[in-house]
Each structure stands twice: as C-alpha cells, then as structure tokens.
C-alpha cells in the first residue's frame, strides 16, 4: 500500500478534527444556553478524541507520539482545511460550520468503513455513532434557526454564504487521489463532494435558507498543503502554551 498516501489522508482528517475540536471548545462557558453549551463542548471533545485515534495510527506508522504531533508543529505543517481554523465568530457561524463540516465527516467516515486499510476502517466504524449525533445536532439547529424568525434566517444565511466557499475547501484533492482510489483505501474527494452537496442541499431545502450558487463560488484551497489563513498560528500558540512552558507537564 502507498504509505505516503495513507499518511496524508490520516493527517488531514486528524488535523481537521483537532483544530475544529479546539475552536468549538472555545464556546465552553459562553454557549447560548447551558444545555447547548454542554452539548457543543461534548462534541468538541469527541472531535479531539477522534483526532487522537488517527494520530495513534500515524504513530504506529512511525510518526511521533500524538501529543508531539498535536502540540509541536507550526501552521505550515498542518493539513487541515481553512474552514476549521476560522475564528468561532457568532453562534450562527459556528453552527453553520458545524453543519457543513460534520455532514462531510459523516459521509467521509461512512465511506471509509469500507476502506481496504483496516485501521482506518475500524476507527470509522467505531465513531459512527458520535458523528451520527453530531449531524442530528447540526441538522436540528439548522432547521430550528433556518425556519425561525427573520433575524435568525437572515443571520444563518449570511453565515452560510460566508462559510460555503471555505467548506468547498474540505474537498481539496490530494496528489494521491488516484492511488487511494485504485487501492480501495478511499473513494476520493470528488465523489465525496458530490454526495455532500446533495445532502447539504436536502437539509437546507427544508428551511428558508438558500444554498449559494456553486458555479459562482470558488473553493478556499491550500490548507491541505500547509498554506493557511492568519488565524491558525495564533490558535496553535494558544493550544501549545502549556507544553511550551513545561514539555513534561501532566494535566
């Protein structure tokens, strides 16, 4: 099997989850109501747990241990898409990002349960339930606010328009797409994107929201090859504050 291709796939999935998990945890204590605060932070914790599962596979393939990989790289060494590194903004943006990203995650892991690379297939099968709840959470909120008041619909629409081209960047293709496909490791970003558009359209179609015109949108690319927005490095600095002061700290 093509080890480089597998590693690249693992890094981008794990980095997406770690960075979004960290971002979403920033709502801890600041969520709109107590119940939602707890639910959103639980899901952020799930995301970080999922990234740990993939960093652990990478460790078995010869990379550094998960803590090192998570806390000691610079922005240029991260493979996450731009969508997950953007600041949390207002809650409407965080919910829209959660919806767009987790719908893609759900479809990605549904597909990866059939991966010929067993360690990935096993993690994909294991986290199915967590992601099922994340998608239920996202879809319920989108329906709630996307059919709510004029203000809620208008704010959700504005965030959807803003986040959409970034969300298209989730599906930035790898130089190994062909290898992944021919070795039945992963079906590839292109087909995933097609399924994602169909599913996002289905949910948005149940609301007053309008999906941006695909033909007019240009995806924000570069994240997968280490080119990031200005927002990633400050996040990494904050995340690694403790390990930078004391590399052997236990917490």
């Amino acid at each position: 099997m093509n080890e480089l291709a597998i590693k690249e796939l693992l890094f981008k999935m794990a980095d997406d989850q770690l960075i979004l998990g960290h971002r979403n945890s920033e709502w801890n204590g600041l969520g709109p109501i107590l119940e939602e605060d707890i639910a959103f932070c639980s899901m952020a914790q799930d995301k970080i747990g999922q990234s740990l599962a993939f960093y652990s596979i990478l460790h078995e393939m010869g990379e550094s241990d998960p803590d090192k990989v998570a806390f000691t790289r610079n922005a240029g060494q991260f493979h996450n898409c731009h969508l997950v590194e953007l600041p949390i903004g207002e809650y409407d943006f965080s919910l829209i990002r959660h919806f767009l990203f987790d719908t893609a995650e759900y479809l990605r892991f549904q597909s990866l349960t059939n991966s010929s690379f067993t360690p990935i297939a096993e993690v994909a099968a294991k986290i199915k339930g967590e992601i099922q709840y994340h998608v239920l959470h996202a879809n319920t909120w989108i329906k709630q606010l996307g059919t709510g008041t004029d203000e809620s619909i208008q704010r959700m629409q504005k965030s959807l328009n803003m986040a959409f081209p970034y969300a298209l960047g989730i599906f930035e293709e790898s130089q190994y797409e062909g290898d992944l496909l021919s070795e039945n490791i992963f079906e590839g970003e292109h087909i995933l994107r097609e399924r994602w558009i169909e599913e996002v359209d289905r949910v948005v179609g149940q609301t007053e929201l309008i999906l941006p015109d695909l033909a007019a949108e240009e995806a924000h690319l570069g994240g997968r090859i280490g080119e990031h927005t200005k927002h990633l490095q400050p996040l990494l600095d904050e995340m690694s504050e403790v390990i930078n002061i004391d590399p052997n700290a236990e917490w």
Partner: protein, 207 residues
C-alpha cells in the same frame, strides 16, 4: 480589568452600551422532562429536566445533559406540562388508596405511559404502557395493573404520543460512551497528584 482568559477577551464582553434600557422580561424556554434507560433490562427512569424550544431540541440537549457520563440505551423527552401528576403521599402510604379519580369515559382510547415514585429523593420509574380514554382512566387502570401493594408515593401519567423517544437507529450514538472515562473526575487522579506533591514538598499530611 481584562480577563486572562483569551476566550473572554475575544467575545468583547467589555464593550458597554452607553444607554439605559427597559428591564427585559424573562426569556426562558419551556422545560422538558428527560427519561433515561441505562441498560437493556433496566427500567426507564426520570433523570431531570432541560430547557428547550421544542421536543427535538430538548432531545439534543437531554442526550448530552443526562447521558454524557452514565450509560444509556434509550432516551425519552416530554414537555413538562404534558405530564399529569398525582398528589404525593406520606411515606408508607399508597397514593392509589388515597386518591381515586372519577373516570370520564367520553374520550377516545389511546396509549398512556405510567411512572411511579417509591421513595422520596429517588427517581420516578417507568411501570409500563396501557390503553385508556383519558388521564383519569389511565390512572385508575394503573391502580389495578401496576399496583402490587408496595406503597406508591406519586404517580405520573403521560400520553405516549406526547413523548419523543429514541429509536433503535439512535442507539449507536451512545456506543463509545464507556470509553470516555476522561469525563469522570476520578480519571484526573487528583488525590494521587496532591499526595505526590505533598511528598515532594516533604510536608507529609500537614499541608
């Protein structure tokens, strides 16, 4: 003073509006009752309440509020005001003996769910489902079907149609719960760390 927490600074809570405003009325969601079944074979029981704008949202909140640590295979939610409750008896007295309701048999027959409280401070436990023509009818039926003489302090009755229940397809959302020990305080081994710290300081138990 600015907070040392970067998250607080980011949300701009330090911007004050330069005006007086009328005091806002209470802006609270309705409450929903949450019932959890921890394991197959165990009874469903009342766990608490969540706020929410509707049943679907309450279900989302209830899932993390009441099943983010303890095991769960089944979750129900219902609007608090959809629940009909009997008075509460004194200990050792059976409410079914003290309260008998007149049954109006005009209604249409449908399914009702019945919960009992056996001890103060404990949870209401699910007894089962029965067909009835109204809440009074359901209560009177329950007094025959679910009353084995053990004192029942309090009875709750709800229409089955008013409950939002998880389905078999939902069960998987709790599948990794048993591995999330980091959510339990014990996982942080705080006492071990305090002990080690004391030993390093050479202060024994005096600290």
């Amino acid at each position: 003073m600015k907070s040392l927490d970067p998250r607080l600074n980011r949300v701009d809570i330090y911007k004050y509006q330069q005006e007086l405003k009328p005091k806002a009325s209470m802006d609270q969601f309705e409450t929903y009752e949450v019932f959890v079944r921890a394991k197959d074979g165990k009874a469903m029981q009342h766990e608490g309440i969540v706020h929410g704008p509707n049943k679907e949202m309450a279900f989302l909140f209830a899932k993390e509020q009441f099943s983010r640590r303890g095991a769960c295979v089944d979750l129900w939610v219902a609007l608090t005001s959809d629940l009909m409750v009997s008075p509460i008896s004194d200990n050792e007295e059976n409410i079914y003996d003290l309260v008998q309701l007149e049954v109006d048999d005009g209604g249409t027959t449908e399914a009702y769910e019945v919960f009992h409280l056996y001890k103060r401070g404990k949870h209401h436990q699910y007894q089962g489902s029965l067909q009835a023509k109204g809440f009074h009818d359901a209560y009177q039926n329950a007094s025959e079907v679910f009353n084995d003489g053990k004192p029942v302090l309090n009875v709750w009755v709800i229409k089955k149609a008013d409950l939002l229940c998880s389905t078999d397809e939902d069960r998987v959302i709790w599948s990794t719960l048993s591995e999330k020990t980091f959510r339990d305080a014990i996982a942080y081994k705080a006492l071990d760390k305090i002990k080690k710290f004391k030993e390093e300081q050479g202060t024994g138990n005096k600290l």
